[in-house]
């Protein structure tokens, strides 16, 4: 539909825009014809991975945000909430700090996924088997705070200014400077996470009527929670460990699109995945439009735009309640 078209256009646009203008068509011809030209290298080694990673990470954030909001029936929820993003950041930081990431290229994403899974499991066990939404959110906030505190400690104790710089830059969130290898590393966890989330739409629809009624509609709530938590850990862990912390896409995207799908949580999942990819591609094209030399990280841009929007949501939801 319309969104897929927009996404395809942005993807192509993302291939065209960069620090050095290159004739893309010629580059495609060169790449296809196995000619090792500079423009072909820029296209396949710089622009293509960048666009693909933005696509995967954006879709993951949008999809996981929609799943989280549907599960908790709370429009203010996001992947960061269940500790998934914080855990991924901590896991990835640990590998950066210990030097594992430098020595062994799989270590960074693996650290992200493991950290994300552990944080999610910690939140789940803290909140208990039959936890209400409020307990779950509080546990998520607590685990995220712990993860952030430990990351600060790592930065504080970092042996060299170089390690500090690496962790801090990575934390800001960026899609730039990745290779196709990074994309391939990110792909399996991402696809696995997406596949797990794909079948949850109907259950999330049923949850519209509350947990007890959803149960009587045949939803196994325990299994649904596990499935969504593990899916988010896999997808967000893969994304965050590659791109760093990119905030607010997972929160804002489902919100913007919800009215367009009649507020149905199930239909929101694919829409929000497409929307998240569109938003992140836009943001990444946006940071490239700044004059050369001022390198704005994409995570900084999404936070600058997303945080005020978050405030706006809170103010508006407060008005609804009164």
């Amino acid at each position: 539909m319309l969104m897929s078209g927009v996404l395809a256009c942005l993807f192509l646009l993302s291939l065209f825009i960069g620090a050095n203008p290159i004739p893309v068509l010629a580059a495609v011809m060169d790449a296809a014809g196995d000619t090792q030209s500079v423009i072909a290298l820029i296209l396949t080694e710089v622009r293509l991975p960048r666009a693909l990673i933005a696509l995967l990470a954006g879709a993951t954030l949008g999809l996981c945000g929609a799943a989280m909001q549907g599960l908790l029936r709370n429009p203010l929820a996001s992947p960061g909430l269940v500790g998934s993003a914080g855990g991924a950041a901590l896991g990835a930081s640990l590998t950066l700090y210990s030097g594992l990431a430098a020595g062994f290229w799989l270590a960074l994403p693996a650290g992200g996924i493991v950290g994300s899974l552990l944080a999610t499991l910690l939140v789940y066990s803290l909140a208990g088997r039959a936890a209400g939404t409020a307990t779950l959110i509080l546990a998520g906030v607590a685990v995220n705070s712990i993860a952030m505190a430990l990351i600060s400690l790592l930065i504080n104790l970092a042996p060299s200014p170089y390690a500090v710089r690496e962790i801090v830059l990575w934390m800001l969130g960026s899609i730039a400077n990745h290779s196709m290898d990074d994309f391939w590393i990110m792909l399996p966890g991402t696809l696995l996470g997406w596949a797990l989330l794909a079948g949850t739409g109907r259950s999330l629809d049923a949850l519209t009527l509350g947990e007890e009624t959803a149960h009587t509609l045949g939803v196994n709530l325990d299994r649904l929670r596990w499935r969504i938590f593990i899916a988010i850990a896999l997808a967000v862990g893969s994304a965050v460990s590659t791109t760093g912390a990119i905030g607010f896409v997972g929160l804002v995207t489902p919100h913007l699109l919800r009215p367009l799908v009649g507020f149905q949580p199930g239909r929101l999942l694919p829409a929000s995945a497409l929307g998240g990819a569109i938003m992140l591609l836009c943001a990444d094209i946006g940071v490239r439009l700044f004059p050369a030399g001022t390198e704005i990280k994409v995570g900084v841009l999404t936070a600058l735009v997303g945080a005020p929007f978050f405030l706006f949501l809170i103010v508006r939801s407060r008005r609804w309640q009164t």
Partner: protein
């Protein structure tokens, strides 16, 4: 179908945090039957309903649905045969009335199948029966309390369940809407289904239900026809009230003294 036991509960007990909530409750529900669950607040009515709905696991006892153990029934199969109308239910997103009602088809659809013409027909029938066709495109939160209750009942009817469990379905409704909802539940029984309904209004219970089950402090105090359950001794013990007869008989005191205009008197 006449003698099939849709629900057979035997010796159901529930203990929460060391506190006994239900003790040795046994009840049966046959096709075409409306069973009223009555009793004072805290007697365990809602807990019993949730156990039969499969939401809460009983501490002891056996529960059969169409002769099969409820615990072993696959979730979707259970969901197709038992619908549950929650007390003070709501919708968490502002979806339209038609979409709320359509959620009742989920047990038939599973994860992937799309709604068929048959599903759409059932949804429309549920909307028409509850007189909601004109409201079908309205967002749920914009409705009045009475309209919301009707939408949620339509959602439960759209399941096309054998057994309908309703927890205080008339609690927040005015007199005429109470009768409307009770008539719909009665209609479900007349079409071969069964209804287990928690009620506080003993006049509605006496008028509409085939049998009553009176709970008091988690125990069955009395069970049987309304005339045999609603008597001075039972009400005194369960509710701590005495019945003022106002010159008439006990039956007169619990007669439904109003009916919808345009309908014949009950």
């Amino acid at each position: 179908m006449a003698d099939v036991k849709l629900i057979a509960a035997d010796g159901i007990s529930l203990t929460l945090g060391g506190r006994p909530i239900l003790r040795q409750i046994s009840l049966q529900l046959k096709a075409g039957e409306m069973l009223g669950l009555i009793g004072p607040n805290g007697a365990g009515k809602s807990s019993l309903l949730k156990i039969i709905a499969g939401i809460v696991e009983p501490s002891a006892g056996e529960l059969l649905v169409n002769g099969h153990a409820l615990r072993r029934l696959p979730g979707l199969e259970r969901a197709r045969s038992i619908a549950y109308l929650a007390q003070a239910g709501t919708a968490h997103w502002p979806i339209t009335v038609a979409r709320v009602v359509a959620l009742g088809r989920l047990p038939h659809l599973g994860s992937w199948r799309n709604a068929s013409a048959e599903d759409l027909r059932v949804i429309e029938a549920a909307l028409r029966r509850t007189d909601l066709l004109e409201l079908s495109e309205r967002p749920f939160p914009t409705l009045s309390g009475g309209e919301k209750a009707r939408v949620l009942l339509a959602r439960a009817l759209a399941v096309e369940p054998n057994t309908l469990l309703a927890d205080e379905p008339v609690a927040a409704l005015d007199l005429s809407h109470q009768l409307e909802v009770m008539d719909l539940l009665r209609q479900h029984c007349n079409e071969g289904g069964a209804v287990l309904v928690v009620l506080h209004d003993l006049r509605l219970a006496a008028h509409y239900c085939d049998r009553l089950h009176l709970l008091y402090q988690g125990r069955t105090l009395a069970t049987g026809t309304p005339a045999s359950v609603i008597n001075d001794a039972n009400l005194a013990q369960a509710y701590g009230v005495s019945i003022r007869r106002a010159g008439g008989s006990l039956a007169d005191a619990f007669a439904l003294t109003w009916s919808k205009i345009g309908h014949s008197a009950p």
